[in-house]
């Protein structure tokens, strides 16, 4: 089954990217991504620029509302995602637990919606 692993990071995690902790921060992710790649389970995935760079758009009636910042204002923000192909949810959770942000923010694991059956 395919699962999307959504990596939620704290503001402090995001801050790590730009301060003196950056080498350790990236080393942690590189090790994790390397392990995912070597296991041959990656379908696709990306890291995202910090949440401060986000812009959110809503259309209400004929009005477009453009908002500076991410969709929801929560303590943890989406930092990146991978779609992986593994046997079951247990295996997906194992991989989620290894992510650097699992011990600071969290990882949301969701099955990918299968394509609709052909009529």
């Amino acid at each position: 089954m395919e699962y999307m692993l959504m990596y939620y990071e704290t503001a402090d995690d995001v801050a790590c990217r730009a301060d003196q902790r950056a080498p350790a921060y990236w080393a942690g992710w590189n090790a994790y991504i390397g392990a995912l790649a070597q296991a041959g389970i990656i379908v696709k995935g990306d890291g995202l620029m910090p949440p401060a760079t986000a812009t959110t758009l809503r259309v209400r009636g004929d009005k477009r509302q453009v908002q500076d910042g991410p969709f929801t204002d929560t303590k943890e923000q989406l930092g990146g995602y991978f779609v992986i192909k593994v046997a079951d949810l247990d295996a997906a959770l194992d991989w989620a637990s290894r992510a650097p942000c699992a011990s600071t923010g969290g990882v949301e694991v969701r099955p990918i919606l299968p394509p609709p059956a052909q009529a």
Binding site: A27, A35, L36, A39, R98
Partner: protein
């Protein structure tokens, strides 16, 4: 009496007799879920009544009587089939006698065997045991086993339905089945403990949330089967690992590998208890894998305390272990023992052999990469060591061990 006192009494009764009562009730009805529901009601009633009426002389019998009444009500409500009704009448009489007499007979052993029955999915055996015998709640177990609570609940419900509907026998296995069935019970208990392979330097400790409960189950099994050697081996193994819990972390929470631990911080009581179980097991003269694992723990421990344990003897124990049970954790540890005796190149060769056999599994097995990194570094293959540390870090889910492995990697010569 204060309500908090009654609550403490009820809790104590719960811990001490929960498994006994579930075992006893479900042995007659073959319906674990119904037994648990009835008992939950009985405990709730106790919390309500005891603060006013006082704790009864025999709380277990009291709980049993109330639970039995609940089960009867429920059955009447569902108007179950005649055969079950007869069983029920039998149950009623027997239980009334029991309530008047003293202790409820201990049928937890049967319950353990049922939970680890081959007809039950192996992944659910351990949680089923913890829930029925010790009364652990799903949320706590879900964290320890890294599954979603809703998923675990569903699996437990399915397993209990299967036990009821498939007619899994509520009796001890036949003598010729016993060794295999007992192995399943012990494996399920050890799975609750998590793995204890900290003889592989920097290996992931795995899921350590339920160690005390696992040891409780181990003690129960030893008490229920006093003439079997392997349960004693299993209990000894868990106690050896548990004795080192405090020494595995420094004051700031950093991970300390086995070879750097301060033996003064090991629990002497637990080590002594472990040695004594291992000795009693040896007297029964029935060697098995859990005893070998415990013997290895004993050897490692004594070696660290300065006793002259020869690397060749340690390797011989591993050879025996992997001969009986060629599990990947033991095979990786054996490679480290080969290195201790014949040098890191030989250890790496042993690891390479494993990889040739089961590459897919080892790709994502953290202790393999932690061991490989350690041995490559010892052999002077710095680039290979760095690569292996990277893999181990990427596969590790325990932050303290990630930090430890990262520090080891950064300490490699440039």
């Amino acid at each position: 009496m204060s309500s908090s006192h009654a609550a403490i009494q009820a809790e104590r009764a719960a811990r001490e007799s929960y498994g006994r009562l579930v075992a006893y009730l479900s042995a007659r009805s073959h319906d674990i879920a119904a037994a648990e529901d009835a008992l939950a009601d009985a405990f709730a009633t106790a919390l309500e009544k005891w603060p006013e009426s006082g704790v009864p002389d025999n709380p277990e019998a009291w709980l049993l009587t109330v639970a039995r009444r609940r089960m009867l009500d429920e059955w009447r409500h569902q108007s179950v089939a005649a055969a079950a009704g007869e069983e029920l009448l039998l149950l009623t009489d027997e239980l009334i006698e029991q309530a008047e007499a003293s202790a409820v007979p201990d049928e937890r052993l049967n319950l353990l065997f049922i939970c680890a029955h081959p007809a039950i999915d192996a992944a659910v055996r351990t949680p089923l045991m913890l829930q029925t015998v010790l009364g652990l709640d799903v949320a706590r177990m879900a964290n320890a086993f890294l599954v979603a609570p809703a998923t675990l609940s569903q699996r437990l419900v399915r397993a209990k339905t299967r036990i009821r509907d498939a007619g899994v026998g509520f009796h001890a296995p036949r003598a010729d089945d016993l060794p295999e069935r007992l192995q399943d019970v012990m494996d399920a208990i050890y799975a609750a403990y998590g793995t204890g392979w900290d003889d592989v330097e920097g290996a992931d400790e795995g899921r350590k949330g339920l160690t005390r409960e696992a040891i409780d189950l181990g003690r129960t099994l030893v008490a229920l089967l006093p003439n079997e050697a392997e349960p004693k081996g299993l209990l000894a193994l868990m106690l050896f690992c548990e004795a080192r819990t405090d020494a595995r972390r420094d004051a700031t929470g950093r991970y300390i590998a086995f070879e750097d631990q301060d033996p003064a911080r090991w629990s002497l009581d637990m080590l002594a208890e472990a040695e004594s179980h291992l000795l009693q097991a040896a007297r029964l003269a029935a060697m098995g894998p859990y005893q070998l694992e415990a013997a290895l723990q004993s050897a490692h421990t004594q070696q660290r305390c300065g006793a002259p344990v020869r690397p060749a003897h340690i390797l011989a124990l591993y050879d025996g272990l992997v001969h009986l049970r060629p599990r990947v954790g033991a095979l990786v540890s054996r490679a480290c023992a080969v290195a201790a005796l014949h040098g890191p190149e030989q250890g790496l060769a042993a690891l390479a052999e494993l990889k040739a056999d089961d590459a897919a599994r080892l790709e994502s097995y953290q202790p393999y990469w932690a061991a490989a990194a350690h041995l490559e570094a010892k052999a002077g293959n710095i680039a290979a060591a760095r690569n292996a540390y990277q893999r181990a870090i990427g596969l590790c889910s325990v932050p303290a061990i990630k930090d430890y492995l990262t520090a080891r990697m950064l300490a490699l010569p440039q």
